[in-house]
Structure formats: structure tokens, C-alpha cells
């Protein structure tokens, strides 16, 4: 899934650089990438979402 996310980031970077008229598409992919990162990290830490220390 990290591979997929980095591909999305690469595509978004290309759009920003070479196809600035596709700004809305680029931003939507960016948001999807951010949400995917949040989901994957949460899934990897789902047995203890918060740092495992004293509060």
C-alpha cells in the first residue's frame, strides 16, 4: 500500500510540475494520499492508537 501511495504522490508531483491546469485533480489526489497515510498508520497501530507511555 505504501507503493500505491508513493505512486500517487509521484503522479501529483508531475501534475503540479507539468500540468498546473490540472490543479483540482492534483489536489484531490493529494487529499486521498493524506487520508491513505492516516488510515495505514492507524491500522498499523490499531492495538494502541496512542503512544504507549504514562499520561
Amino acid at each position: 500500500m505504501e507503493f500505491l501511495n508513493l505512486v500517487l504522490i509521484f503522479i501529483t508531483g508531475c501534475l503540479v510540475f507539468r500540468k498546473p491546469e490540472k490543479e483540482r485533480v492534483a489536489f484531490r489526489i493529494l487529499v486521498v494520499s493524506v487520508l491513505l497515510m492516516v488510515f495505514l498508520f492507524s491500522m498499523a497501530t490499531r492495538t494502541a492508537l496512542l503512544p504507549g507511555v504514562n499520561y
Partner: protein, 501 residues
Amino acid sequence: MPTTQTPTKQNAVYTMLAVAVLALALVPVGGAVFVLGFIYGDSPCVMCWEQRVGMALVALIGLFVLRFGARPKYIGLSVLVGAWGVFMGLRHVGMHAARDIGQGFSAEILGAHTYTWSLFIFWICIVTMGLLLMMLQRGDAQVSPRGLRPIEKVAMLVFLVVIAGNVVQAFASTGPPPYMGQGDPVRFSFNPKHWVWSLEEWSNLLSFDRWSLRGRWAAEKPGLAGVSADPAGSPLANIPTLSIQEQRRLAIPLRGTITDIAYDAGSDRFLLTTQHGVYILDGSLQRLVRYTVVDPGYSVDLGNFAGAAFIGGNEVMALGENKSYVVLREDDEANADANFRYFLESFDTFKEVSRSRLAAVRARMMYTMSLAFDAAGRSVYTVTVPNSKSKRLVVSRFDRRDLTLSEEFMPGLKPEGEPGLRAKRSVDEFYVTGAAIENGRLYAISAAFSTLLTIDLATHEIVAAHAVSGLDHPTGIAIKGDQIYLACEDGRVVTVAKPVS
């Protein structure tokens, strides 16, 4: 006042942003893949991958600003990703920060492991965003795409090269969807024979009972509510019964309920603790010798006292459920004014010697409700109480001289003979709320099943167990001669004959 910056000033802001993007892309994101990954074979774990992706996203949002101007949605998203990155860093660092010195996970760089650097870098990102925002003025948000200057083009090209490198590493290390990163990744290699693609992180995704905010750190505070006092339910079979010989209620008013009791044969006196009170009574439990109420919130968080012990030299120790403690010395000439900071009542009877915490290993994730002093071994002992996350009966010994962990063991039963364990039961079910030591044996009273355990400190075995009939939630134990005194949650102090074993 101008509402927009001059082109020169505006260019300076964008130049600084381009340099920041270059630094972020080259050093942590690029260095991680080209140096650590491709040269040294380091592979990120699943959490490191997301932290790296987060840094790449912050850099990408920087490219959006370079291209389209400082629009609010880009600024807002960059702050959100930066804040999430700080959280990811805290979550990851939290797994390893409290380990012994020098320990960690994977590569250490300049004295810190990679996940710690990630926390620092995300924090720097947010600081940089704040500084750049301060330099922006109204009108700086572009409506149409900006033309790119050379340094901005370089930033974009470098970013794309770095991300391309990461795409290659991610394919080799984590594989195509639905494969994803691993908790313990395999060393990076360009040779497909060494690639390991895993679905382990997807397992039990829909088992929502496994989702938790704090995991094993979400242990409940100790307490006797719901603890069964019925000896018939004991995990031990066929144990003898002790009968209560005498019971009394103290005539002395106490601040709170009795949480532990101890006895000092040398001075023929008892020590009692309440939630925050420390009381010394005479040997008949009828006359109050001295007392104080400790301020539990000053400095170390003491919580509620659950253990008490005479520890020699006119000193007593009161232990909180969280294994934080205070050591007090009896002092008839104590300075009441100086003691104002330590105590809430009776300021001139004790001097505070120290206030700190006992640190355990096996007992780390469990509270304790007992404390005992072994004069012969110059040690203090604690025994754990189980919680919903950790269920182990652990005895911890701390050297009296520095109150540092010196031994820990999990008492077991003798391989054969009495007491015997019922099928599918465990001694970890006991809920020890009081402990006392005599002649190398630790007497532990369990509120669960109202059972007195006798543990040999040399062999670490439970050599005897006795049910105590009529007992209701004991909170402490003291040994005086051939009598065992048990303090109870309901305010009674009962005595039983010390078993001969």
C-alpha cells in the same frame, strides 16, 4: 501599509520555501532511500513508511504553494499533515523511548534513531511553516498558476527523483497493493529473491475488539469492588482454613480507610496508612503515637497509599498503588513551617526523607497494594495485583539502600504436594493487598478468595496457603508474635493464628 509584498520580497519567500522543500526532499526522504536503503540495506517498518510518506506530503504541499500560491487550503493541509506527523513521531518514539540506554529500533544516526529524527523533522516543518506564514501578506495567494523560477524547478525535479526512488524501494520492500509494510521488515535488496511481501497488517482488521486507544496501558486502577472474597472459588484445592480469633474497630479517628498495616517488634508499635495518612499506634492499637497526612500531589504523584512498612532507623515508608513512595522519619522536633509543603495535617511529627518511585520490570504494567520490609535482607518487597491487561503474580525486591529493583520472581507451587492447583486455574488470580515478612517467608494476604499465601523467599515457592473464613476484603497484614493482624476494608482489624508451616 502595503497590502501586497514587492516582487523582490515575494520572491524571497518563495525562494526560502523552495530551499525548505529541497532540504526536506533531499535529507530525510532522499537520504532514507538512497543512502540508508540502497547503500546500507535499511528497510523502514510500517510506521516508518508512513512517517516518510508524511514528510513527502509536506514537501509536496510546498510544491503546490510554489506553483499555485499560498492558498488557505494548502496552508491548512500542510499544518494538518505536519501535526499528524508529530503525532506519528510521538507514537513511534513512545514504543522505544523508555528502553535502556542506547536501545531502539533499526538505525541510529547521530545519537537518535530514525523515528526520533522524524518527530524532530515534523516539528521543524511546522516551525518553518509558521515563519513563512509570518512573511506572507494579503494578496500573496495566487489565482492562476505561477511561473516557476529555476530554483523552484530544481525543487520539483529533485522531489520527483526522490519519490521515484522511494517508489522503487516501496515496491521491493512492501509490494503492490494490497501488500503493505511490516512491523519487522527484511533487509532491502534489489534481488527479487529476497523480497518479502506481507499481509500481516491486514489480519483481524475487522476485529474491532482489538482496536484500542492505549492498549495494555489502559489498565484500570486497583480496587476491591468485584473481587470475590469467597475461598470456595480459590484456584487452590484442599487448603486448610484459619478462623478469626478476635476482631476490633479502632477508636482512633482516621482520615480515610485503612489501606495497610505493619508491625515493628522492636518498638511494639503498629503502622497504619489510609489513602494519604500515616499513623503510628501503640502495640495495643489503642493509642495514637503520631500521625501525619501527606500531600500526595506535591512533586511525585503518590496516588493513594496501599502499602506501609517500618524500614528501620525510625523511618517508615508509605507506598502508593502506582509504586510511588514517601519515606518519613519520626522527628519530635520537626519544623512545622518547613513541613508545610509536604503535609496537609500534623506538621511537626515527621520529617520527609525522600519521595520517589519504585521501578519494576516484570511488575511494570501492574499496580501494587502491598509493601513489606525484610530487615535481614535489607530489602523492601511488593506484590502485584492483576488487571484486565496484565495478570501475573509478581514479587519484586528492592534494595533498602537505594530502593532499586534487585530481584523479581513469579512464585510457583511446589511440583508435588500441597497446596495444589485446580484444573485450568492459576495463582495469578490472587489479589494480594498486604504483605509481611518473617524468617525468610513472605506472608501475602489475598482479597480474592480471602487466602493467606506463604511464599519462601529463597525457593520462590508458595509453601502454604490458608483460607481465612469470615474475612471481607483485607487491605493489609502484620505479624505480631504468633498472631497475624489483618486490616479490612470495612474498618475492622482481625487476628488469626499464624500458621505453622
